[in-house]
Amino acid sequence: MNNQNHKEVSYLEYQGKHKGLLGWLLSTDHKRIGILYLISLMIFLTVGISFGLLIRLELLSPGKTIIDPQTYNAIFTLHGVIMIFLFVIPGLPAVFGNFFLPILIGAKDVAFPKWNLTSWYLYVIGGLLAITAILLPGGPADTGWTFYIPYSVRTSTNVTLALFAAFILGFSSILTGLNFITTVHRLRAPGMTWFKMPLSIWSFYSTAWIQILATPIIGITLLLVAFERFFKVGLFDPALGGDPILYQHLFWIYSHPAVYIMILPAMGVVSEIIPVFARRTIFGYNFIAMSSVAIALFGSLVWAHHMFTAGMSSTSQLIFSLLTMIVAIPSAIKVFNWVATLYKGSIDLQVPLLYVLAFIFQFTIGGLTGVMQGVLSIDIHVHDTSFIVAHFHYVMFGGTGFGFFAALHYWFPKMFGRMYNKKLAERTFWGVFVGFNVLYFPMFIMGWLGMPRRYYDYLPEYQIYHMISTFGSWILVPSIFLMFGYLIYYALKGAKVTEKNVWGGETLEWQIDTPPIHENFIEIPTVSDKPYEYKSNELVTQFSEAK
């Protein structure tokens, strides 16, 4: 069957048991599932962005601009639910984790391919449920994505549906998580010890643990809110003796670690891309790897910093403020190591690296303003203002979003066997970068001045900031849609790439065919060296090739 070059048909053309569309929808190939995730994710992302754009349009001027308050409340809720549960949480792990995690550790697939496919179906069902809520009578949920009790029990909108959607999405996330943990433990290629794994694997692995351990807690919490609405169980509703603060605790026990589910994989991608384009080894491999674990660990212990104004005991305020400060350190370590990796490199400023540099800049802003909010008195002032909105968009979008775009541009040729127009991509990058910062930076200022978040209307003194912000969205959104447009176009029509190693990377995905064959490797490689060992700009073959 194999000719002398071992040239096999790529995963895109591979014909399994099923043909055509079914060959995709029923495929258990991790790469095809990754692509399925990518497509569905982009669709949901587009919906989420459109809602975001509507929010910005409404806030262009005080009073009613285009929509009424009820619609506005529903839209920011949907924007949050879609972006959090359907884009940033699954984003990098489900798309690039699925596609590249097995390849990066030298495996043919994940440990449980069927569960992997199930996880995608759950994702789609959850997503559709969340969207369906818009069309049903009662209207979409208007609680904000946090579903705070007792408002979420009182409102007559379709909160229950949104809760079930989130519950199902949680299952999808859990399945991805347990798949990744088992895969990393059981399917690493011979010779790939823990400290020879690419850094993105450390990130995905740490993320997977949070997915496993924290997701069930939000699952049960959201289910209880649904019970509360149906049966009046009274577990959270203060009218029946419940404690709404306890709801917030349980919600954030998951949702704060979830923040790290969102950002850790992006950090992994950054650690992957910098050495490739700096043509040198990563600085401080062990520190970066261990900081991922430390972030996962400490990230699970700081949830109550979302509740500094809720009236917790002073002991809690003290402990959670202190722990929040400490969680900043591993992130800082990562940033310093990334910057140090550029030192004495031979830097090739390609589009993926541009996104990564923007990531570092924006993540640093997001991280530092995060530290500010860990400081009790500052948080008491800026909590629930647009300062927070700016902060988490700098982390979630400026960080994870840009990490996602970086990964897209970095792995695009490997995934599709085609190349995009680099000039166009570079110009689009500047649109995205400038638009993003114009959109979100003014929110820091008006937040400090006292502009609360989730506001439909505002005092005239804030208008100038809102206007600048909305102008920013007019730069950002078209740029992103342009990016989606050209990526789709070049994925189908771009110049073909058959070269194995487009960027000169040293990890395993660059040593296999472009696009990869059905089971990635004809023969499982043996790994002998750490990743990113560039020796005098020459590629070192770090594993013995199949003969």
């Binding site: 009236g311 004495k344 008491i380």
Partner: protein
Amino acid sequence: MFDGVSNFSQSTDFTFLFTLIVSAFFLLLVTFLMIYFVFKYNKKRNPVAKNIHHNTALEITWTAIPLILVLIMFWLGWRDYLKQEAVPDNAYTIDVTAQMWLWKFKYPNGKETDTLYVPVNTDVALNLKSIDVNHAFYVPKFRLKKDVYPNQNRKMWFNSSELGSFDIACAEYCGLNHSYMYNKVVVMPKDEFFAWVNSEDKYPTLKQLAEQNLENSRN
């Protein structure tokens, strides 16, 4: 930017300024180095990269220095917080009731208003309660915020040193008219305040305050 008017605003602003300066320093440092390296070690200028694996001394330095700095920040915030929690026993206490979507204020002698009037340079304590969903009592100029819950009591206090009227906002999302749950806190001269609160008048006449505001706007 630093125009707070309560007894807490100065220390909160100082804490903010400190963290802001530290943050700005690190942001500029990281950004500058990044851009500098990209130009200096561009592949045209520096075709051969040098592999540097790690430098333990450097790692320890950039772990320890941020750690010390964030601990200082923590301590500043904690110090401010403790002051805010220590409600003085003899404070003038006003009951605040939040509901969708308005505030009600009740003074010790039973008088009720929908705008909050307080005497200047006096310790004022607020008992916060909600009768429906969660709200948050937020006065940006005082740098104060506290969530308000149904069936649970919350307490906060302040001492405003400046006459004038300042915005109160609801900062915890509470439904349809969340953004219209705005009101004012009016800080009045002591004698005027007590004269009014003990009188039959529903609202105080704000003569002196109006002059004060005029002066402010002239400055």
